[in-house]
Symmetry: C2
Subunit: 209 residues, 2 copies
């Protein structure tokens, strides 16, 4: 059953968890599926369907208990855990990801940063020293790092990914514009910025016709 | 018909176009759907289905003509056009996006950069001066900018988006961790980095159970 859950439903779960955060901050005790979907433009039927994948939450006509559902969703999303992350690539994109406030808030902790450029090695980002990529495997093994972020150019991405998976990383968030081939023990999500723009450009082209 | 094409198919179209670029560089004249899907781990049946949304390409048993199909796909994706882009947010993420080589290669041209931080205004990125956000509307109108990229914190994103749409922007690529509410004339694609990580963390949590 669990394997059939669409990736898009899991993404929406993240959105619901954030909205529940906001409702909790506003002091609300319960919310309806309409309210949960409203801010994100998601129909209430979709909200109920998404949540039903993971269990029976809420009561018909009464809605969902904000605090309870939030904790359940965070547990499902693995957000009750602190994940150690190794970032490879200390360029502009790497620095942007390192500085991204949303990561740490959700328990994603970049504990090690690597680059192969000698001019960057030894520099310090908020207490984290940038190390040479040759030390990647050792740090992953020693520190129990489970997630890797790849922010290097396309040409170097596969090599970094192979080393990460070999050293025990279980999941990679890949920003290099290249599809990676990984061993089955290693999951990947690729964020290809040019593909996002091409998607927009497709819709723009349609408008012009 | 066209409205029913899934977003994921359009994303894969971008991948096929890139692969055709590579095949052309290697001097290949024709490719099969197997070859097109192979590098991206996409089954050949999916490749044929995706392409069939857009027309009749290739011949059974003969495959696709590399150069011809590439040009067709680039036309469909709007990549035969040069798009003018305004980037708002000149922080680390903005700089990473500005420097991203994949954009310009595909005809995505960041022609204006804005920020509201006085210490950044007047600085120069490869010949593009960083301007104060108050000039955004004028530049969009004057230069015929059609795409906006938002790389500001969540708190300022909606305001920037409203101004962009009002000034005539047709599509927004949003990196702020916030869903935007836009007028119907304005499309959006949101890249929420924390949601990508949460997606990975969901799969990691499943592994541990």
């Amino acid at each position: 059953m669990k394997d059939k859950i669409p990736v898009t439903a899991i993404r929406r779960l993240s959105l619901y968890a954030r909205m529940l955060d906001e409702f909790e901050n506003e002091g609300k005790d319960s919310v309806s599926s309409q309210e949960l979907g409203k801010n994100a433009n998601i129909p209430s039927t979709q909200v109920r369907k998404d949540l039903a994948y993971f269990g029976q939450f809420g009561k018909p006509g009464k809605g969902y208990l904000v605090k309870e559902l939030k904790l359940e969703l965070k547990e499902i999303l693995g957000l009750s855990h602190v994940w150690k992350i190794a970032l490879v690539g200390a360029g502009n994109l790497g620095k942007a990801l390192f500085s991204y406030p949303g990561f740490r808030q959700q328990g994603f902790n970049i504990t090690a940063v690597f680059d192969s450029d000698p001019s960057k090695i030894g520099k310090n980002w908020k207490g984290i020293e940038i190390r040479h990529s040759s030390g990647l495997s050792d740090v992953i093994k020693k520190d129990g790092v489970t997630i890797g972020i790849i922010a290097v150019p396309a040409s170097g991405a596969q090599e970094v990914a192979d080393e990460m998976c070999k050293a025990g990383i279980k999941a990679i968030l890949n920003f290099a514009p290249k599809r990676l081939k990984l061993v089955p023990s290693c999951s990947q999500i690729s964020v290809d910025l040019a593909i996002e723009l091409e998607n927009l450009s497709y819709y723009l082209s349609k408008l012009k016709k």
